[in-house]
Symmetry: C3
Subunit: 142 residues, 3 copies
Protein backbone atom coordinates (compact mmCIF):
# COMPACT_ATOMS: atom_id res chain seq x y z
CA UNK A 1 0.00 0.00 0.00
CA UNK A 2 1.38 3.37 -1.01
CA UNK A 3 1.76 5.89 1.79
CA UNK A 4 -0.30 9.04 1.91
CA UNK A 5 2.75 11.24 1.41
CA UNK A 6 3.81 9.26 -1.67
CA UNK A 7 0.28 9.76 -3.02
CA UNK A 8 0.50 13.47 -2.34
CA UNK A 9 3.98 13.71 -3.90
CA UNK A 10 2.74 12.01 -7.05
CA UNK A 11 -0.36 14.15 -7.07
CA UNK A 12 1.65 17.33 -6.69
CA UNK A 13 3.89 16.19 -9.53
CA UNK A 14 0.93 15.32 -11.71
CA UNK A 15 -0.63 18.77 -11.43
CA UNK A 16 2.77 20.38 -11.91
CA UNK A 17 3.31 18.47 -15.15
CA UNK A 18 -0.12 19.50 -16.45
CA UNK A 19 0.61 23.15 -15.66
CA UNK A 20 4.02 22.77 -17.32
CA UNK A 21 2.48 21.34 -20.50
CA UNK A 22 -0.18 24.06 -20.68
CA UNK A 23 2.44 26.80 -20.35
CA UNK A 24 4.89 25.06 -22.69
CA UNK A 25 2.47 24.37 -25.52
CA UNK A 26 0.71 27.75 -25.30
CA UNK A 27 4.17 29.23 -25.91
CA UNK A 28 4.60 27.09 -29.01
CA UNK A 29 1.10 27.93 -30.28
CA UNK A 30 1.84 31.63 -29.74
CA UNK A 31 5.08 31.10 -31.71
CA UNK A 32 7.22 32.19 -28.81
CA UNK A 33 9.87 29.83 -30.07
CA UNK A 34 12.74 30.87 -27.81
CA UNK A 35 10.46 30.66 -24.78
CA UNK A 36 9.34 27.21 -25.90
CA UNK A 37 12.95 26.06 -26.32
CA UNK A 38 13.69 27.28 -22.79
CA UNK A 39 11.33 24.63 -21.45
CA UNK A 40 13.89 22.05 -22.57
CA UNK A 41 17.18 21.36 -20.82
CA UNK A 42 20.25 23.01 -22.34
CA UNK A 43 21.13 19.67 -23.98
CA UNK A 44 17.46 18.86 -24.73
CA UNK A 45 16.36 16.73 -27.66
CA UNK A 46 13.19 17.22 -29.71
CA UNK A 47 12.14 14.86 -32.45
CA UNK A 48 8.90 16.16 -33.91
CA UNK A 49 9.02 14.58 -37.36
CA UNK A 50 9.44 10.85 -37.88
CA UNK A 51 12.47 9.92 -39.95
CA UNK A 52 14.26 13.18 -39.18
CA UNK A 53 17.11 13.61 -36.78
CA UNK A 54 16.01 15.25 -33.55
CA UNK A 55 16.90 18.88 -32.92
CA UNK A 56 19.44 19.13 -30.10
CA UNK A 57 20.24 21.89 -27.58
CA UNK A 58 18.04 24.92 -27.01
CA UNK A 59 19.72 26.86 -29.81
CA UNK A 60 19.25 23.89 -32.12
CA UNK A 61 15.58 23.58 -31.24
CA UNK A 62 14.99 27.28 -31.89
CA UNK A 63 16.72 27.09 -35.29
CA UNK A 64 14.78 23.97 -36.17
CA UNK A 65 11.44 25.53 -35.20
CA UNK A 66 12.05 28.68 -37.25
CA UNK A 67 12.78 26.43 -40.20
CA UNK A 68 9.70 24.29 -39.48
CA UNK A 69 7.37 27.29 -39.18
CA UNK A 70 8.46 28.78 -42.54
CA UNK A 71 5.90 26.63 -44.30
CA UNK A 72 3.19 28.45 -42.36
CA UNK A 73 4.40 31.90 -43.42
CA UNK A 74 1.65 32.38 -46.01
CA UNK A 75 -0.93 30.34 -44.15
CA UNK A 76 -3.29 32.27 -41.84
CA UNK A 77 -3.54 29.21 -39.63
CA UNK A 78 -3.59 28.97 -35.87
CA UNK A 79 -2.43 25.81 -34.16
CA UNK A 80 -3.51 24.60 -30.76
CA UNK A 81 -1.75 21.61 -29.25
CA UNK A 82 -4.02 19.52 -27.07
CA UNK A 83 -2.21 17.21 -24.64
CA UNK A 84 -4.26 14.76 -22.60
CA UNK A 85 -4.20 11.39 -20.86
CA UNK A 86 -0.88 12.23 -19.24
CA UNK A 87 0.67 8.97 -17.97
CA UNK A 88 3.63 9.54 -15.64
CA UNK A 89 6.21 6.99 -14.57
CA UNK A 90 8.84 8.34 -12.17
CA UNK A 91 12.18 6.58 -12.67
CA UNK A 92 14.89 5.69 -10.23
CA UNK A 93 17.24 8.39 -11.48
CA UNK A 94 14.73 11.10 -10.57
CA UNK A 95 13.58 11.71 -14.13
CA UNK A 96 9.98 11.14 -15.18
CA UNK A 97 8.77 9.24 -18.20
CA UNK A 98 5.61 10.87 -19.57
CA UNK A 99 3.43 9.29 -22.25
CA UNK A 100 0.80 11.68 -23.53
CA UNK A 101 -1.89 11.73 -26.21
CA UNK A 102 -1.80 14.79 -28.43
CA UNK A 103 -4.12 16.27 -31.03
CA UNK A 104 -3.28 19.32 -33.07
CA UNK A 105 -6.19 21.65 -33.75
CA UNK A 106 -5.67 23.80 -36.85
CA UNK A 107 -7.90 26.80 -37.36
CA UNK A 108 -8.14 28.88 -40.51
CA UNK A 109 -10.41 31.92 -40.93
CA UNK A 110 -13.92 30.99 -42.00
CA UNK A 111 -13.32 27.26 -41.77
CA UNK A 112 -14.11 24.65 -39.17
CA UNK A 113 -11.20 23.49 -37.03
CA UNK A 114 -9.27 20.61 -38.51
CA UNK A 115 -8.16 18.18 -35.85
CA UNK A 116 -5.10 16.31 -37.07
CA UNK A 117 -2.77 14.63 -36.62
CA UNK A 118 -3.18 12.39 -33.60
CA UNK A 119 0.13 11.71 -31.89
CA UNK A 120 1.64 10.09 -28.85
CA UNK A 121 4.30 12.19 -27.17
CA UNK A 122 7.08 10.38 -25.31
CA UNK A 123 8.82 12.77 -22.94
CA UNK A 124 11.55 12.47 -20.38
CA UNK A 125 11.15 15.26 -17.84
CA UNK A 126 13.71 16.33 -15.28
CA UNK A 127 13.78 18.81 -12.45
CA UNK A 128 16.49 21.46 -12.56
CA UNK A 129 16.75 23.74 -9.54
CA UNK A 130 13.14 22.96 -8.76
CA UNK A 131 11.84 23.67 -12.26
CA UNK A 132 10.51 21.01 -14.62
CA UNK A 133 12.18 20.79 -18.01
CA UNK A 134 11.87 18.45 -20.97
CA UNK A 135 15.08 16.53 -21.54
CA UNK A 136 13.80 14.66 -24.56
CA UNK A 137 10.62 14.60 -26.60
CA UNK A 138 9.84 12.03 -29.25
CA UNK A 139 6.60 12.52 -31.14
CA UNK A 140 5.04 9.46 -32.74
CA UNK A 141 2.31 9.94 -35.32
CA UNK A 142 -0.61 7.53 -35.22
Amino acid sequence: MTSVSAHQDLSALYAEVQQFYAMQMQRLDNRELEAYANTFTEDGEFRHTPGQEPARTRAGIVADLYEFHKKFDDDPMRRRHWFNMVNLEPRDDGSIRSTVYALIVKIRPGAKPEIAPSCVVHDVLVRDNGTLLTRSRWVHYD
Copy 2:
Protein backbone atom coordinates in the same frame (compact mmCIF):
# COMPACT_ATOMS: atom_id res chain seq x y z
CA MET B 1 13.97 27.23 -6.14
CA THR B 2 10.32 26.95 -5.22
CA SER B 3 9.60 25.36 -1.86
CA VAL B 4 7.82 22.04 -1.58
CA SER B 5 4.83 23.64 0.11
CA ALA B 6 4.50 26.23 -2.65
CA HIS B 7 4.56 23.36 -5.15
CA GLN B 8 1.88 21.56 -3.18
CA ASP B 9 -0.24 24.69 -2.87
CA LEU B 10 -0.10 25.26 -6.61
CA SER B 11 -0.78 21.60 -7.24
CA ALA B 12 -3.77 21.61 -4.93
CA LEU B 13 -5.05 24.71 -6.67
CA TYR B 14 -4.51 23.18 -10.09
CA ALA B 15 -6.59 20.12 -9.34
CA GLU B 16 -9.23 22.26 -7.67
CA VAL B 17 -9.56 24.43 -10.78
CA GLN B 18 -9.92 21.38 -13.02
CA GLN B 19 -12.65 19.98 -10.76
CA PHE B 20 -14.32 23.40 -10.75
CA TYR B 21 -14.31 23.58 -14.55
CA ALA B 22 -15.67 20.04 -14.92
CA MET B 23 -18.54 20.79 -12.54
CA GLN B 24 -19.16 24.24 -14.00
CA MET B 25 -19.26 23.23 -17.64
CA GLN B 26 -21.27 20.05 -17.05
CA ARG B 27 -23.89 22.32 -15.51
CA LEU B 28 -23.92 24.50 -18.63
CA ASP B 29 -24.07 21.46 -20.93
CA ASN B 30 -26.98 20.11 -18.87
CA ARG B 31 -28.63 23.53 -19.25
CA GLU B 32 -28.72 24.09 -15.52
CA LEU B 33 -28.37 27.77 -16.23
CA GLU B 34 -28.97 29.12 -12.74
CA ALA B 35 -26.50 26.61 -11.31
CA TYR B 36 -23.97 27.65 -13.93
CA ALA B 37 -24.46 31.34 -13.08
CA ASN B 38 -23.87 30.50 -9.42
CA THR B 39 -20.30 29.54 -10.28
CA PHE B 40 -19.67 33.24 -10.98
CA THR B 41 -19.30 35.93 -8.31
CA GLU B 42 -22.41 38.01 -7.65
CA ASP B 43 -20.87 40.77 -9.77
CA GLY B 44 -19.42 38.31 -12.30
CA GLU B 45 -18.85 39.14 -15.94
CA PHE B 46 -19.28 36.74 -18.86
CA ARG B 47 -18.43 37.69 -22.42
CA HIS B 48 -19.15 34.67 -24.60
CA THR B 49 -19.70 36.39 -27.94
CA PRO B 50 -17.13 38.71 -29.49
CA GLY B 51 -18.45 42.20 -30.17
CA GLN B 52 -21.24 41.87 -27.62
CA GLU B 53 -21.28 43.48 -24.22
CA PRO B 54 -20.57 40.97 -21.47
CA ALA B 55 -23.43 39.76 -19.30
CA ARG B 56 -23.02 41.09 -15.76
CA THR B 57 -24.19 39.79 -12.36
CA ARG B 58 -25.57 36.31 -11.81
CA ALA B 59 -29.09 37.42 -12.70
CA GLY B 60 -27.78 39.06 -15.85
CA ILE B 61 -25.87 35.94 -16.84
CA VAL B 62 -28.96 33.75 -16.36
CA ALA B 63 -31.10 36.09 -18.47
CA ASP B 64 -28.43 36.24 -21.14
CA LEU B 65 -28.09 32.45 -21.26
CA TYR B 66 -31.83 31.88 -21.59
CA GLU B 67 -31.80 34.30 -24.50
CA PHE B 68 -28.71 32.62 -26.01
CA HIS B 69 -30.18 29.12 -25.74
CA LYS B 70 -33.43 30.08 -27.53
CA LYS B 71 -31.78 29.43 -30.87
CA PHE B 72 -31.34 25.79 -29.81
CA ASP B 73 -35.03 25.34 -28.96
CA ASP B 74 -35.82 23.42 -32.14
CA ASP B 75 -32.41 21.83 -32.47
CA PRO B 76 -31.99 18.36 -30.91
CA MET B 77 -28.36 19.16 -30.26
CA ARG B 78 -26.25 18.34 -27.26
CA ARG B 79 -23.24 20.47 -26.45
CA ARG B 80 -20.17 19.38 -24.54
CA HIS B 81 -17.61 21.96 -23.56
CA TRP B 82 -14.07 20.59 -23.49
CA PHE B 83 -11.60 22.69 -21.49
CA ASN B 84 -7.94 21.71 -21.57
CA MET B 85 -4.38 23.04 -21.29
CA VAL B 86 -5.32 25.02 -18.19
CA ASN B 87 -2.59 27.62 -17.60
CA LEU B 88 -2.83 29.25 -14.16
CA GLU B 89 -1.10 32.42 -13.02
CA PRO B 90 -1.81 33.38 -9.41
CA ARG B 91 -1.76 37.15 -8.96
CA ASP B 92 -0.69 39.29 -6.05
CA ASP B 93 -4.25 40.21 -5.10
CA GLY B 94 -5.10 36.53 -4.52
CA SER B 95 -7.05 36.13 -7.76
CA ILE B 96 -5.96 33.65 -10.41
CA ARG B 97 -5.60 34.31 -14.11
CA SER B 98 -6.55 31.18 -16.06
CA THR B 99 -5.95 30.78 -19.79
CA VAL B 100 -7.64 27.69 -21.18
CA TYR B 101 -8.16 26.06 -24.56
CA ALA B 102 -11.76 25.12 -25.29
CA LEU B 103 -13.49 23.08 -27.95
CA ILE B 104 -17.24 22.74 -28.20
CA VAL B 105 -18.48 19.32 -29.22
CA LYS B 106 -21.95 19.41 -30.81
CA ILE B 107 -23.85 16.18 -31.15
CA ARG B 108 -27.03 15.68 -33.16
CA PRO B 109 -28.91 12.39 -33.45
CA GLY B 110 -27.57 10.16 -36.21
CA ALA B 111 -24.68 12.46 -37.06
CA LYS B 112 -21.02 12.48 -36.16
CA PRO B 113 -19.97 14.98 -33.52
CA GLU B 114 -19.10 18.38 -34.88
CA ILE B 115 -16.16 19.89 -33.04
CA ALA B 116 -16.30 23.65 -33.36
CA PRO B 117 -15.50 26.33 -32.54
CA SER B 118 -12.03 26.40 -31.01
CA CYS B 119 -11.71 29.09 -28.36
CA VAL B 120 -9.37 30.45 -25.76
CA VAL B 121 -11.05 31.22 -22.46
CA HIS B 122 -9.57 34.01 -20.32
CA ASP B 123 -10.84 33.70 -16.76
CA VAL B 124 -10.18 35.52 -13.55
CA LEU B 125 -10.97 33.21 -10.65
CA VAL B 126 -11.34 34.22 -7.02
CA ARG B 127 -11.88 32.38 -3.79
CA ASP B 128 -14.94 33.34 -1.77
CA ASN B 129 -15.29 31.70 1.65
CA GLY B 130 -13.09 28.88 0.42
CA THR B 131 -15.02 28.30 -2.80
CA LEU B 132 -13.67 29.06 -6.27
CA LEU B 133 -15.77 31.36 -8.40
CA THR B 134 -15.34 32.97 -11.80
CA ARG B 135 -15.14 36.72 -11.53
CA SER B 136 -14.78 37.30 -15.24
CA ARG B 137 -14.74 35.16 -18.36
CA TRP B 138 -13.80 36.40 -21.77
CA VAL B 139 -14.10 33.90 -24.59
CA HIS B 140 -11.97 34.51 -27.68
CA TYR B 141 -12.76 32.60 -30.86
CA ASP B 142 -9.85 31.33 -32.91
Copy 3:
Protein backbone atom coordinates in the same frame (compact mmCIF):
# COMPACT_ATOMS: atom_id res chain seq x y z
CA MET C 1 -15.52 26.83 4.41
CA THR C 2 -13.61 23.69 3.50
CA SER C 3 -10.39 23.12 5.41
CA VAL C 4 -7.01 23.22 3.71
CA SER C 5 -6.40 19.53 4.34
CA ALA C 6 -9.76 18.61 2.81
CA HIS C 7 -8.76 20.68 -0.25
CA GLN C 8 -5.44 18.89 -0.44
CA ASP C 9 -7.06 15.48 -0.02
CA LEU C 10 -9.46 16.19 -2.86
CA SER C 11 -6.65 17.59 -4.96
CA ALA C 12 -4.49 14.54 -4.36
CA LEU C 13 -7.43 12.33 -5.29
CA TYR C 14 -8.15 14.36 -8.40
CA ALA C 15 -4.64 13.97 -9.78
CA GLU C 16 -4.63 10.31 -8.82
CA VAL C 17 -7.83 9.69 -10.76
CA GLN C 18 -6.44 11.44 -13.85
CA GLN C 19 -3.26 9.34 -13.68
CA PHE C 20 -5.44 6.24 -13.22
CA TYR C 21 -7.53 7.05 -16.28
CA ALA C 22 -4.46 7.76 -18.43
CA MET C 23 -2.89 4.43 -17.48
CA GLN C 24 -6.19 2.53 -17.75
CA MET C 25 -7.20 3.80 -21.15
CA GLN C 26 -3.72 3.59 -22.66
CA ARG C 27 -3.89 -0.11 -21.76
CA LEU C 28 -7.18 -0.46 -23.59
CA ASP C 29 -5.91 1.45 -26.62
CA ASN C 30 -2.82 -0.77 -26.67
CA ARG C 31 -5.18 -3.78 -26.52
CA GLU C 32 -3.68 -5.02 -23.28
CA LEU C 33 -7.09 -6.38 -22.43
CA GLU C 34 -6.17 -8.37 -19.33
CA ALA C 35 -4.25 -5.41 -17.94
CA TYR C 36 -7.27 -3.20 -18.62
CA ALA C 37 -9.60 -5.64 -16.86
CA ASN C 38 -7.25 -5.59 -13.86
CA THR C 39 -8.11 -1.93 -13.32
CA PHE C 40 -11.60 -3.09 -12.33
CA THR C 41 -12.49 -4.74 -9.03
CA GLU C 42 -12.79 -8.53 -9.11
CA ASP C 43 -16.58 -8.14 -9.23
CA GLY C 44 -16.39 -5.11 -11.52
CA GLU C 45 -19.10 -4.17 -14.00
CA PHE C 46 -18.54 -2.62 -17.44
CA ARG C 47 -21.39 -1.56 -19.69
CA HIS C 48 -19.87 -0.16 -22.86
CA THR C 49 -22.76 -0.68 -25.26
CA PRO C 50 -26.24 0.68 -24.58
CA GLY C 51 -28.93 -1.97 -24.53
CA GLN C 52 -26.46 -4.75 -23.76
CA GLU C 53 -25.99 -6.41 -20.41
CA PRO C 54 -22.81 -5.21 -18.69
CA ALA C 55 -19.80 -7.51 -18.59
CA ARG C 56 -19.19 -8.66 -15.02
CA THR C 57 -16.03 -9.79 -13.19
CA ARG C 58 -12.52 -9.35 -14.55
CA ALA C 59 -12.70 -12.62 -16.46
CA GLY C 60 -16.04 -11.60 -17.91
CA ILE C 61 -14.70 -8.23 -18.98
CA VAL C 62 -11.70 -9.82 -20.70
CA ALA C 63 -13.92 -12.27 -22.58
CA ASP C 64 -16.28 -9.50 -23.57
CA LEU C 65 -13.47 -7.29 -24.83
CA TYR C 66 -11.94 -10.05 -26.95
CA GLU C 67 -15.37 -10.54 -28.51
CA PHE C 68 -15.82 -6.78 -28.98
CA HIS C 69 -12.41 -6.32 -30.62
CA LYS C 70 -13.02 -9.10 -33.19
CA LYS C 71 -14.74 -6.61 -35.44
CA PHE C 72 -11.48 -4.68 -35.65
CA ASP C 73 -9.46 -7.75 -36.73
CA ASP C 74 -9.31 -6.70 -40.38
CA ASP C 75 -9.35 -2.99 -39.69
CA PRO C 76 -5.94 -1.25 -39.44
CA MET C 77 -7.44 1.22 -37.02
CA ARG C 78 -5.96 2.70 -33.87
CA ARG C 79 -8.21 3.94 -31.14
CA ARG C 80 -7.38 6.60 -28.60
CA HIS C 81 -9.78 7.22 -25.76
CA TRP C 82 -9.80 10.83 -24.61
CA PHE C 83 -11.26 11.38 -21.14
CA ASN C 84 -11.72 14.94 -19.92
CA MET C 85 -13.81 17.18 -17.65
CA VAL C 86 -13.48 14.69 -14.80
CA ASN C 87 -16.14 15.53 -12.21
CA LEU C 88 -15.60 13.72 -8.90
CA GLU C 89 -18.10 13.32 -6.08
CA PRO C 90 -16.78 11.39 -3.08
CA ARG C 91 -19.57 9.43 -1.38
CA ASP C 92 -20.13 8.57 2.26
CA ASP C 93 -19.20 4.91 1.78
CA GLY C 94 -15.71 5.88 0.60
CA SER C 95 -16.40 5.26 -3.07
CA ILE C 96 -16.15 8.03 -5.65
CA ARG C 97 -18.68 8.88 -8.30
CA SER C 98 -16.88 10.09 -11.43
CA THR C 99 -18.67 11.68 -14.40
CA VAL C 100 -16.37 12.13 -17.38
CA TYR C 101 -16.64 13.30 -20.96
CA ALA C 102 -15.09 10.92 -23.49
CA LEU C 103 -14.26 11.14 -27.16
CA ILE C 104 -12.88 8.25 -29.16
CA VAL C 105 -10.28 9.15 -31.75
CA LYS C 106 -10.03 6.59 -34.55
CA ILE C 107 -7.01 6.68 -36.81
CA ARG C 108 -6.60 4.75 -40.03
CA PRO C 109 -3.50 4.88 -42.25
CA GLY C 110 -3.59 7.76 -44.72
CA ALA C 111 -6.81 9.23 -43.35
CA LYS C 112 -7.56 12.06 -40.99
CA PRO C 113 -8.53 11.08 -37.47
CA GLU C 114 -12.22 10.45 -37.01
CA ILE C 115 -13.45 11.71 -33.66
CA ALA C 116 -16.55 9.80 -32.68
CA PRO C 117 -18.53 8.93 -30.71
CA SER C 118 -18.93 11.42 -27.88
CA CYS C 119 -19.83 9.72 -24.62
CA VAL C 120 -20.34 10.39 -20.96
CA VAL C 121 -18.71 7.83 -18.70
CA HIS C 122 -20.31 7.17 -15.31
CA ASP C 123 -17.84 5.43 -13.03
CA VAL C 124 -17.85 4.31 -9.45
CA LEU C 125 -14.27 4.13 -8.22
CA VAL C 126 -13.09 2.45 -5.03
CA ARG C 127 -9.80 2.16 -3.24
CA ASP C 128 -8.52 -1.35 -2.58
CA ASN C 129 -5.36 -1.64 -0.49
CA GLY C 130 -4.46 1.89 -1.53
CA THR C 131 -5.01 1.33 -5.24
CA LEU C 132 -7.84 2.90 -7.24
CA LEU C 133 -10.07 0.50 -9.14
CA THR C 134 -13.23 0.88 -11.20
CA ARG C 135 -16.14 -0.92 -9.56
CA SER C 136 -18.60 -0.01 -12.26
CA ARG C 137 -18.52 1.82 -15.56
CA TRP C 138 -21.56 2.79 -17.55
CA VAL C 139 -20.93 4.44 -20.88
CA HIS C 140 -23.69 6.64 -22.27
CA TYR C 141 -23.52 7.68 -25.91
CA ASP C 142 -24.52 11.22 -26.75
